[in-house]
Symmetry: C2
Subunit: 214 residues, 2 copies
DNA sequence: AAAAATATGTCAATGAATTAGCAGAAAATG
DNA sequence: CATTTTCTGCTAATTCATTGACATATTTTT
Protein backbone atom coordinates (compact mmCIF):
# COMPACT_ATOMS: atom_id res chain seq x y z
CA UNK A 1 0.00 0.00 0.00
CA UNK A 2 1.99 2.94 -1.29
CA UNK A 3 0.67 6.44 -1.01
CA UNK A 4 2.49 9.19 -2.82
CA UNK A 5 1.04 12.32 -4.20
CA UNK A 6 -2.59 11.46 -3.64
CA UNK A 7 -4.62 14.47 -4.67
CA UNK A 8 -6.72 16.32 -2.14
CA UNK A 9 -9.70 15.71 -4.41
CA UNK A 10 -9.38 12.01 -3.63
CA UNK A 11 -8.72 12.55 0.08
CA UNK A 12 -11.77 14.73 0.27
CA UNK A 13 -13.93 11.83 -0.92
CA UNK A 14 -12.56 9.21 1.44
CA UNK A 15 -14.58 10.24 4.50
CA UNK A 16 -17.74 9.91 2.50
CA UNK A 17 -16.82 6.41 1.34
CA UNK A 18 -16.00 5.62 4.94
CA UNK A 19 -19.39 6.83 6.09
CA UNK A 20 -21.31 4.79 3.52
CA UNK A 21 -19.25 1.68 4.13
CA UNK A 22 -19.80 2.01 7.86
CA UNK A 23 -23.53 2.13 7.30
CA UNK A 24 -23.44 -0.87 4.96
CA UNK A 25 -21.39 -2.77 7.49
CA UNK A 26 -23.92 -1.97 10.22
CA UNK A 27 -26.68 -3.20 7.94
CA UNK A 28 -24.85 -6.49 7.61
CA UNK A 29 -23.85 -6.10 3.97
CA UNK A 30 -20.81 -8.24 3.27
CA UNK A 31 -19.78 -7.38 -0.26
CA UNK A 32 -20.45 -4.61 -2.73
CA UNK A 33 -19.48 -3.82 -6.30
CA UNK A 34 -18.33 -0.44 -7.51
CA UNK A 35 -21.51 -0.41 -9.59
CA UNK A 36 -23.80 -0.84 -6.59
CA UNK A 37 -21.86 1.64 -4.50
CA UNK A 38 -21.97 4.14 -7.33
CA UNK A 39 -25.75 3.99 -7.44
CA UNK A 40 -25.98 4.42 -3.69
CA UNK A 41 -23.56 7.33 -3.51
CA UNK A 42 -24.42 8.91 -6.83
CA UNK A 43 -20.93 9.02 -8.25
CA UNK A 44 -19.53 7.07 -11.18
CA UNK A 45 -18.31 3.51 -10.65
CA UNK A 46 -15.18 4.45 -12.53
CA UNK A 47 -14.36 7.13 -10.02
CA UNK A 48 -14.80 4.73 -7.13
CA UNK A 49 -12.44 2.18 -8.65
CA UNK A 50 -9.96 4.87 -9.58
CA UNK A 51 -10.04 6.34 -6.08
CA UNK A 52 -9.43 3.03 -4.35
CA UNK A 53 -6.68 2.14 -6.77
CA UNK A 54 -4.67 5.08 -5.59
CA UNK A 55 -3.96 2.98 -2.54
CA UNK A 56 -3.32 -0.31 -4.25
CA UNK A 57 -6.68 -1.90 -4.95
CA UNK A 58 -8.85 -3.53 -2.35
CA UNK A 59 -11.20 -5.53 -4.56
CA UNK A 60 -11.30 -8.74 -6.48
CA UNK A 61 -12.44 -9.29 -10.04
CA UNK A 62 -15.78 -11.05 -10.26
CA UNK A 63 -16.44 -10.49 -6.55
CA UNK A 64 -16.29 -6.78 -5.80
CA UNK A 65 -15.20 -5.34 -2.49
CA UNK A 66 -15.52 -6.82 0.95
CA UNK A 67 -17.31 -4.14 2.94
CA UNK A 68 -15.71 -4.81 6.31
CA UNK A 69 -12.20 -4.99 4.86
CA UNK A 70 -12.61 -1.90 2.72
CA UNK A 71 -14.00 0.00 5.70
CA UNK A 72 -11.01 -0.96 7.81
CA UNK A 73 -8.52 -0.05 5.09
CA UNK A 74 -10.00 3.37 4.43
CA UNK A 75 -10.04 3.95 8.16
CA UNK A 76 -6.33 3.20 8.26
CA UNK A 77 -5.62 5.51 5.35
CA UNK A 78 -7.44 8.28 7.19
CA UNK A 79 -5.42 7.57 10.31
CA UNK A 80 -8.43 6.50 12.32
CA UNK A 81 -6.58 3.48 13.70
CA UNK A 82 -4.53 5.81 15.85
CA UNK A 83 -5.72 8.09 18.61
CA UNK A 84 -5.31 11.82 18.47
CA UNK A 85 -5.66 14.02 21.52
CA UNK A 86 -7.25 17.39 20.91
CA UNK A 87 -7.93 20.56 22.86
CA UNK A 88 -10.49 23.25 22.15
CA UNK A 89 -9.57 26.90 22.33
CA UNK A 90 -12.70 28.95 22.85
CA UNK A 91 -15.44 27.61 25.12
CA UNK A 92 -18.38 29.35 23.45
CA UNK A 93 -21.33 27.49 22.01
CA UNK A 94 -19.39 26.19 19.03
CA UNK A 95 -16.54 24.95 21.19
CA UNK A 96 -19.00 23.29 23.54
CA UNK A 97 -20.81 21.66 20.63
CA UNK A 98 -17.59 20.18 19.27
CA UNK A 99 -16.46 19.09 22.72
CA UNK A 100 -19.75 17.30 23.17
CA UNK A 101 -19.63 15.17 20.00
CA UNK A 102 -19.30 11.60 21.10
CA UNK A 103 -18.70 10.45 17.53
CA UNK A 104 -15.27 12.04 17.46
CA UNK A 105 -14.27 9.91 20.44
CA UNK A 106 -15.41 6.82 18.56
CA UNK A 107 -13.00 7.66 15.73
CA UNK A 108 -10.06 8.03 18.06
CA UNK A 109 -10.19 11.75 18.69
CA UNK A 110 -9.86 12.29 22.42
CA UNK A 111 -11.13 15.51 23.91
CA UNK A 112 -8.56 16.38 26.54
CA UNK A 113 -8.66 20.06 27.32
CA UNK A 114 -10.53 23.30 26.86
CA UNK A 115 -9.43 26.88 27.24
CA UNK A 116 -11.00 30.31 27.21
CA UNK A 117 -9.89 33.80 28.08
CA UNK A 118 -13.29 34.72 29.48
CA UNK A 119 -13.17 34.26 33.28
CA UNK A 120 -16.93 33.67 33.31
CA UNK A 121 -16.42 30.45 31.35
CA UNK A 122 -13.36 29.21 33.23
CA UNK A 123 -14.31 26.41 35.57
CA UNK A 124 -17.35 25.36 33.57
CA UNK A 125 -17.40 21.69 32.63
CA UNK A 126 -17.99 20.22 29.16
CA UNK A 127 -18.22 16.45 29.04
CA UNK A 128 -16.08 16.11 32.13
CA UNK A 129 -13.43 18.58 30.93
CA UNK A 130 -12.99 21.76 32.96
CA UNK A 131 -12.47 25.00 31.04
CA UNK A 132 -9.06 26.43 31.91
CA UNK A 133 -7.74 29.97 31.49
CA UNK A 134 -5.71 30.70 28.37
CA UNK A 135 -2.53 31.19 30.39
CA UNK A 136 -2.40 27.48 31.12
CA UNK A 137 -2.65 26.41 27.49
CA UNK A 138 1.07 26.27 26.65
CA UNK A 139 2.01 24.15 29.61
CA UNK A 140 -0.92 21.81 29.06
CA UNK A 141 0.08 21.16 25.45
CA UNK A 142 3.65 20.37 26.37
CA UNK A 143 2.70 18.06 29.21
CA UNK A 144 -0.20 16.19 27.61
CA UNK A 145 0.91 15.12 24.17
CA UNK A 146 -1.78 17.07 22.35
CA UNK A 147 -1.91 16.64 18.55
CA UNK A 148 -4.77 18.82 17.44
CA UNK A 149 -6.03 22.22 18.54
CA UNK A 150 -9.54 23.25 17.63
CA UNK A 151 -9.80 27.01 17.21
CA UNK A 152 -13.29 28.26 18.02
CA UNK A 153 -12.48 31.85 18.84
CA UNK A 154 -13.28 35.07 16.96
CA UNK A 155 -10.88 36.01 14.20
CA UNK A 156 -9.29 38.73 16.28
CA UNK A 157 -6.79 36.76 18.29
CA UNK A 158 -6.86 33.64 16.15
CA UNK A 159 -3.60 34.40 14.39
CA UNK A 160 -1.81 35.12 17.66
CA UNK A 161 -3.19 32.00 19.36
CA UNK A 162 -2.25 29.86 16.35
CA UNK A 163 1.31 31.06 16.68
CA UNK A 164 1.40 30.18 20.38
CA UNK A 165 0.02 26.74 19.57
CA UNK A 166 2.63 26.07 16.94
CA UNK A 167 5.43 27.28 19.18
CA UNK A 168 4.43 24.72 21.75
CA UNK A 169 4.38 21.71 19.51
CA UNK A 170 0.88 21.44 18.09
CA UNK A 171 0.89 19.47 14.81
CA UNK A 172 -2.52 20.36 13.50
CA UNK A 173 -5.14 23.07 13.78
CA UNK A 174 -8.82 22.68 13.01
CA UNK A 175 -9.67 26.28 12.37
CA UNK A 176 -13.16 27.74 12.73
CA UNK A 177 -12.04 31.35 12.91
CA UNK A 178 -12.73 33.42 9.81
CA UNK A 179 -9.13 34.04 8.93
CA UNK A 180 -6.49 32.20 6.97
CA UNK A 181 -3.72 30.99 9.23
CA UNK A 182 -0.15 31.06 8.04
CA UNK A 183 1.74 28.31 9.74
CA UNK A 184 5.16 26.76 9.18
CA UNK A 185 5.68 23.84 6.79
CA UNK A 186 4.60 20.59 8.37
CA UNK A 187 1.80 22.00 10.50
CA UNK A 188 -1.57 20.90 9.16
CA UNK A 189 -4.46 23.33 9.02
CA UNK A 190 -7.99 22.43 8.09
CA UNK A 191 -10.30 25.40 8.03
CA UNK A 192 -14.06 25.37 8.30
CA UNK A 193 -15.24 28.74 7.12
CA UNK A 194 -18.92 28.63 7.96
CA UNK A 195 -19.79 31.96 6.43
CA UNK A 196 -18.13 30.93 3.15
CA UNK A 197 -20.35 27.90 3.11
CA UNK A 198 -23.44 30.00 3.74
CA UNK A 199 -22.49 32.36 0.92
CA UNK A 200 -22.19 29.46 -1.49
CA UNK A 201 -25.68 28.44 -0.51
CA UNK A 202 -26.85 32.00 -1.06
CA UNK A 203 -25.29 32.04 -4.53
CA UNK A 204 -27.03 28.84 -5.50
CA UNK A 205 -30.40 30.08 -4.29
CA UNK A 206 -30.00 33.18 -6.40
CA UNK A 207 -28.75 31.32 -9.42
CA UNK A 208 -31.74 29.04 -9.36
CA UNK A 209 -34.16 31.95 -9.04
CA UNK A 210 -32.58 33.62 -12.06
CA UNK A 211 -32.38 30.52 -14.22
CA UNK A 212 -35.98 29.63 -13.59
CA UNK A 213 -37.07 33.21 -14.30
CA UNK A 214 -37.24 35.30 -11.08
CA UNK B 1 -23.07 40.65 -16.29
CA UNK B 2 -24.00 37.27 -17.67
CA UNK B 3 -23.58 34.18 -15.57
CA UNK B 4 -24.00 30.83 -17.20
CA UNK B 5 -22.39 27.62 -16.23
CA UNK B 6 -19.99 29.05 -13.71
CA UNK B 7 -18.14 26.14 -12.16
CA UNK B 8 -18.48 25.41 -8.46
CA UNK B 9 -14.70 25.69 -8.25
CA UNK B 10 -15.05 29.39 -9.04
CA UNK B 11 -18.06 29.90 -6.78
CA UNK B 12 -16.16 28.27 -3.95
CA UNK B 13 -13.47 30.93 -4.22
CA UNK B 14 -15.78 33.95 -4.30
CA UNK B 15 -16.42 34.12 -0.55
CA UNK B 16 -12.70 34.24 0.08
CA UNK B 17 -12.24 37.07 -2.39
CA UNK B 18 -15.14 38.80 -0.71
CA UNK B 19 -13.53 38.42 2.71
CA UNK B 20 -10.19 39.81 1.58
CA UNK B 21 -11.76 42.69 -0.30
CA UNK B 22 -13.87 43.56 2.75
CA UNK B 23 -10.76 43.74 4.86
CA UNK B 24 -8.94 45.86 2.30
CA UNK B 25 -11.92 48.18 2.12
CA UNK B 26 -11.95 48.53 5.91
CA UNK B 27 -8.26 49.37 5.80
CA UNK B 28 -9.05 52.16 3.38
CA UNK B 29 -7.39 50.60 0.33
CA UNK B 30 -8.94 52.06 -2.81
CA UNK B 31 -7.45 50.03 -5.64
CA UNK B 32 -5.63 46.79 -6.06
CA UNK B 33 -4.07 44.85 -8.92
CA UNK B 34 -4.48 41.15 -9.50
CA UNK B 35 -0.75 40.90 -8.82
CA UNK B 36 -1.00 42.49 -5.38
CA UNK B 37 -4.10 40.50 -4.48
CA UNK B 38 -2.41 37.31 -5.60
CA UNK B 39 0.47 37.88 -3.21
CA UNK B 40 -1.90 38.61 -0.36
CA UNK B 41 -4.13 35.61 -0.98
CA UNK B 42 -1.46 33.23 -2.21
CA UNK B 43 -3.12 32.30 -5.46
CA UNK B 44 -1.99 33.11 -9.01
CA UNK B 45 -2.84 36.48 -10.51
CA UNK B 46 -4.03 34.64 -13.58
CA UNK B 47 -6.60 32.75 -11.60
CA UNK B 48 -7.92 35.92 -10.05
CA UNK B 49 -8.37 37.59 -13.43
CA UNK B 50 -9.88 34.44 -14.90
CA UNK B 51 -12.31 34.11 -12.00
CA UNK B 52 -13.53 37.69 -12.19
CA UNK B 53 -13.88 37.48 -15.94
CA UNK B 54 -16.48 34.78 -15.58
CA UNK B 55 -18.78 37.58 -14.59
CA UNK B 56 -17.75 40.11 -17.17
CA UNK B 57 -14.65 41.85 -15.86
CA UNK B 58 -14.56 44.45 -13.16
CA UNK B 59 -11.15 45.99 -13.72
CA UNK B 60 -9.43 48.46 -15.94
CA UNK B 61 -6.15 48.09 -17.78
CA UNK B 62 -3.35 50.11 -16.24
CA UNK B 63 -5.38 50.72 -13.08
CA UNK B 64 -6.42 47.41 -11.60
CA UNK B 65 -9.58 46.89 -9.61
CA UNK B 66 -11.47 49.36 -7.48
CA UNK B 67 -11.76 47.63 -4.12
CA UNK B 68 -15.10 49.08 -3.09
CA UNK B 69 -16.71 48.37 -6.46
CA UNK B 70 -15.33 44.85 -6.72
CA UNK B 71 -16.48 44.10 -3.19
CA UNK B 72 -19.99 45.26 -4.02
CA UNK B 73 -20.14 43.30 -7.25
CA UNK B 74 -18.98 40.04 -5.70
CA UNK B 75 -21.49 40.61 -2.92
CA UNK B 76 -24.21 40.90 -5.53
CA UNK B 77 -23.09 37.75 -7.32
CA UNK B 78 -23.26 35.91 -4.01
CA UNK B 79 -26.74 37.27 -3.44
CA UNK B 80 -25.72 39.28 -0.40
CA UNK B 81 -27.64 42.30 -1.61
CA UNK B 82 -30.87 40.52 -0.75
CA UNK B 83 -32.07 39.38 2.62
CA UNK B 84 -32.71 35.75 3.42
CA UNK B 85 -34.73 34.67 6.42
CA UNK B 86 -33.54 31.50 8.08
CA UNK B 87 -34.70 29.18 10.82
CA UNK B 88 -32.67 26.74 12.85
CA UNK B 89 -33.89 23.22 13.49
CA UNK B 90 -32.13 21.85 16.55
CA UNK B 91 -31.44 24.12 19.48
CA UNK B 92 -28.37 22.32 20.82
CA UNK B 93 -25.01 24.01 21.20
CA UNK B 94 -24.35 24.07 17.48
CA UNK B 95 -27.74 25.56 16.71
CA UNK B 96 -27.26 28.15 19.42
CA UNK B 97 -23.80 28.99 18.12
CA UNK B 98 -25.12 29.60 14.60
CA UNK B 99 -28.10 31.55 15.91
CA UNK B 100 -25.73 33.77 17.83
CA UNK B 101 -23.48 34.78 14.93
CA UNK B 102 -24.02 38.46 14.36
CA UNK B 103 -21.98 38.36 11.17
CA UNK B 104 -24.68 36.44 9.35
CA UNK B 105 -27.12 39.24 10.08
CA UNK B 106 -24.66 41.74 8.59
CA UNK B 107 -24.70 39.78 5.34
CA UNK B 108 -28.46 39.78 5.09
CA UNK B 109 -29.23 36.47 6.75
CA UNK B 110 -31.99 37.09 9.25
CA UNK B 111 -32.41 34.66 12.11
CA UNK B 112 -36.16 34.34 12.47
CA UNK B 113 -37.05 31.10 14.22
CA UNK B 114 -35.73 28.14 16.13
CA UNK B 115 -37.24 24.73 16.76
CA UNK B 116 -36.45 21.68 18.84
CA UNK B 117 -38.26 18.52 19.76
CA UNK B 118 -36.77 18.50 23.25
CA UNK B 119 -39.30 20.09 25.64
CA UNK B 120 -36.47 21.10 27.94
CA UNK B 121 -35.16 23.47 25.29
CA UNK B 122 -38.52 24.86 24.17
CA UNK B 123 -39.05 28.32 25.57
CA UNK B 124 -35.34 29.07 25.85
CA UNK B 125 -34.25 32.28 24.12
CA UNK B 126 -31.34 32.65 21.69
CA UNK B 127 -30.64 36.20 20.59
CA UNK B 128 -34.23 37.20 21.19
CA UNK B 129 -35.69 34.20 19.39
CA UNK B 130 -37.73 31.77 21.47
CA UNK B 131 -37.26 28.05 20.80
CA UNK B 132 -40.54 26.54 19.59
CA UNK B 133 -41.66 22.93 19.52
CA UNK B 134 -41.21 21.03 16.25
CA UNK B 135 -44.93 20.81 15.66
CA UNK B 136 -45.07 24.53 14.97
CA UNK B 137 -42.38 24.42 12.31
CA UNK B 138 -44.55 23.87 9.24
CA UNK B 139 -46.96 26.67 10.00
CA UNK B 140 -44.13 29.05 10.84
CA UNK B 141 -42.42 28.44 7.51
CA UNK B 142 -45.58 29.05 5.54
CA UNK B 143 -46.47 32.23 7.42
CA UNK B 144 -43.05 33.84 7.67
CA UNK B 145 -41.47 33.66 4.23
CA UNK B 146 -38.52 31.58 5.35
CA UNK B 147 -35.86 30.85 2.70
CA UNK B 148 -33.26 28.77 4.49
CA UNK B 149 -33.46 26.05 7.11
CA UNK B 150 -30.38 25.24 9.12
CA UNK B 151 -30.36 21.60 10.16
CA UNK B 152 -28.45 21.09 13.39
CA UNK B 153 -30.00 17.84 14.54
CA UNK B 154 -28.56 14.32 14.74
CA UNK B 155 -28.62 12.29 11.55
CA UNK B 156 -31.50 10.19 12.76
CA UNK B 157 -34.45 12.32 11.88
CA UNK B 158 -32.60 14.64 9.52
CA UNK B 159 -33.97 13.01 6.39
CA UNK B 160 -37.54 13.12 7.65
CA UNK B 161 -37.26 16.73 8.79
CA UNK B 162 -35.74 17.72 5.46
CA UNK B 163 -38.74 16.28 3.71
CA UNK B 164 -41.12 18.23 5.91
CA UNK B 165 -39.17 21.39 5.22
CA UNK B 166 -39.28 20.90 1.48
CA UNK B 167 -42.98 20.12 1.54
CA UNK B 168 -43.64 23.44 3.19
CA UNK B 169 -41.75 25.60 0.76
CA UNK B 170 -38.18 25.84 2.01
CA UNK B 171 -35.81 26.68 -0.86
CA UNK B 172 -32.51 25.84 0.76
CA UNK B 173 -31.07 23.70 3.52
CA UNK B 174 -27.80 24.29 5.30
CA UNK B 175 -27.18 20.78 6.51
CA UNK B 176 -25.00 19.94 9.52
CA UNK B 177 -26.38 16.43 10.00
CA UNK B 178 -24.06 13.62 8.96
CA UNK B 179 -26.21 12.33 6.16
CA UNK B 180 -26.67 13.19 2.53
CA UNK B 181 -30.07 14.67 1.88
CA UNK B 182 -31.94 13.80 -1.26
CA UNK B 183 -34.14 16.69 -2.20
CA UNK B 184 -36.11 17.57 -5.30
CA UNK B 185 -34.58 19.51 -8.18
CA UNK B 186 -34.45 23.20 -7.38
CA UNK B 187 -33.93 22.87 -3.64
CA UNK B 188 -30.43 23.89 -2.67
CA UNK B 189 -28.48 21.91 -0.12
CA UNK B 190 -25.13 22.91 1.30
CA UNK B 191 -23.74 20.36 3.70
CA UNK B 192 -21.13 20.92 6.35
CA UNK B 193 -19.87 17.52 7.36
CA UNK B 194 -17.68 18.32 10.32
CA UNK B 195 -16.43 14.80 10.86
CA UNK B 196 -15.37 14.58 7.22
CA UNK B 197 -13.33 17.69 7.71
CA UNK B 198 -11.72 16.27 10.83
CA UNK B 199 -10.84 13.06 9.00
CA UNK B 200 -9.12 15.01 6.26
CA UNK B 201 -7.05 16.69 8.93
CA UNK B 202 -6.26 13.31 10.41
CA UNK B 203 -5.12 12.02 7.01
CA UNK B 204 -2.81 14.95 6.53
CA UNK B 205 -1.26 14.56 9.97
CA UNK B 206 -0.53 10.93 9.19
CA UNK B 207 0.78 11.61 5.73
CA UNK B 208 3.24 14.14 7.06
CA UNK B 209 4.45 11.78 9.76
CA UNK B 210 5.05 9.09 7.17
CA UNK B 211 6.73 11.31 4.62
CA UNK B 212 9.09 12.80 7.14
CA UNK B 213 9.96 9.35 8.49
CA UNK B 214 7.67 8.17 11.33
C1' DA C 1 2.62 65.65 -25.02
C1' DA C 2 5.49 61.78 -25.89
C1' DA C 3 7.52 57.77 -23.74
C1' DA C 4 7.59 54.37 -20.28
C1' DA C 5 5.28 51.60 -17.06
C1' DT C 6 1.33 49.20 -15.47
C1' DA C 7 -2.11 45.84 -15.52
C1' DT C 8 -6.42 43.98 -17.56
C1' DG C 9 -8.96 40.73 -20.62
C1' DT C 10 -8.49 36.99 -23.43
C1' DC C 11 -6.60 33.18 -25.96
C1' DA C 12 -3.59 29.36 -25.95
C1' DA C 13 -1.03 25.80 -23.51
C1' DT C 14 -0.54 22.92 -19.93
C1' DG C 15 -1.92 20.13 -16.20
C1' DA C 16 -5.32 17.71 -13.33
C1' DA C 17 -9.41 15.14 -12.67
C1' DT C 18 -13.03 12.37 -14.40
C1' DT C 19 -15.05 9.11 -17.35
C1' DA C 20 -14.97 5.38 -20.74
C1' DG C 21 -13.47 1.03 -22.38
C1' DC C 22 -11.58 -3.32 -22.13
C1' DA C 23 -8.46 -7.44 -20.98
C1' DG C 24 -8.50 -10.81 -17.90
C1' DA C 25 -9.37 -12.90 -13.21
C1' DA C 26 -12.71 -14.85 -10.23
C1' DA C 27 -17.31 -16.45 -9.33
C1' DA C 28 -21.63 -18.37 -10.63
C1' DT C 29 -24.25 -21.40 -13.46
C1' DG C 30 -25.85 -25.50 -15.77
C1' DC D 1 -16.00 -29.03 -15.29
C1' DA D 2 -16.87 -26.13 -19.23
C1' DT D 3 -19.35 -21.91 -20.16
C1' DT D 4 -21.22 -17.69 -19.04
C1' DT D 5 -21.44 -13.85 -16.23
C1' DT D 6 -19.57 -10.55 -13.14
C1' DC D 7 -16.56 -7.05 -11.93
C1' DT D 8 -11.86 -5.31 -10.96
C1' DG D 9 -7.51 -2.90 -12.26
C1' DC D 10 -5.63 -0.46 -15.62
C1' DT D 11 -4.90 2.38 -19.78
C1' DA D 12 -6.65 5.64 -22.88
C1' DA D 13 -9.72 9.44 -23.96
C1' DT D 14 -12.05 13.24 -22.61
C1' DT D 15 -13.39 16.95 -20.00
C1' DC D 16 -12.43 20.50 -16.73
C1' DA D 17 -9.32 23.77 -14.25
C1' DT D 18 -5.22 26.36 -13.89
C1' DT D 19 -1.42 28.78 -15.60
C1' DG D 20 1.15 31.35 -19.07
C1' DA D 21 1.63 34.77 -22.62
C1' DC D 22 0.58 38.82 -24.89
C1' DA D 23 -2.03 42.61 -27.33
C1' DT D 24 -3.99 46.66 -25.92
C1' DA D 25 -5.92 50.24 -22.90
C1' DT D 26 -4.92 53.34 -19.17
C1' DT D 27 -2.01 55.70 -16.10
C1' DT D 28 2.22 57.70 -14.69
C1' DT D 29 6.48 59.88 -15.52
C1' DT D 30 9.57 63.00 -17.71
Amino acid sequence: MEEKGISQAVIGRLPRYFRYLGELKDEGVERISSQELSELMKVTASQIRQDFNNFGGFGQQGYGYNVEYLYQEIGKILGLDRTHRFIIIGAGNLGQALGGYLNFERRGFIFSGMFDKNPALVGKEVRGIRVQPMEEMEQFIRENDVDIAVLTIPKTGAVEVAERLVNNGIRAIWNFAHVDLNVPEGIQVESVHLSDSLMKLSYNINRYLQESGQ
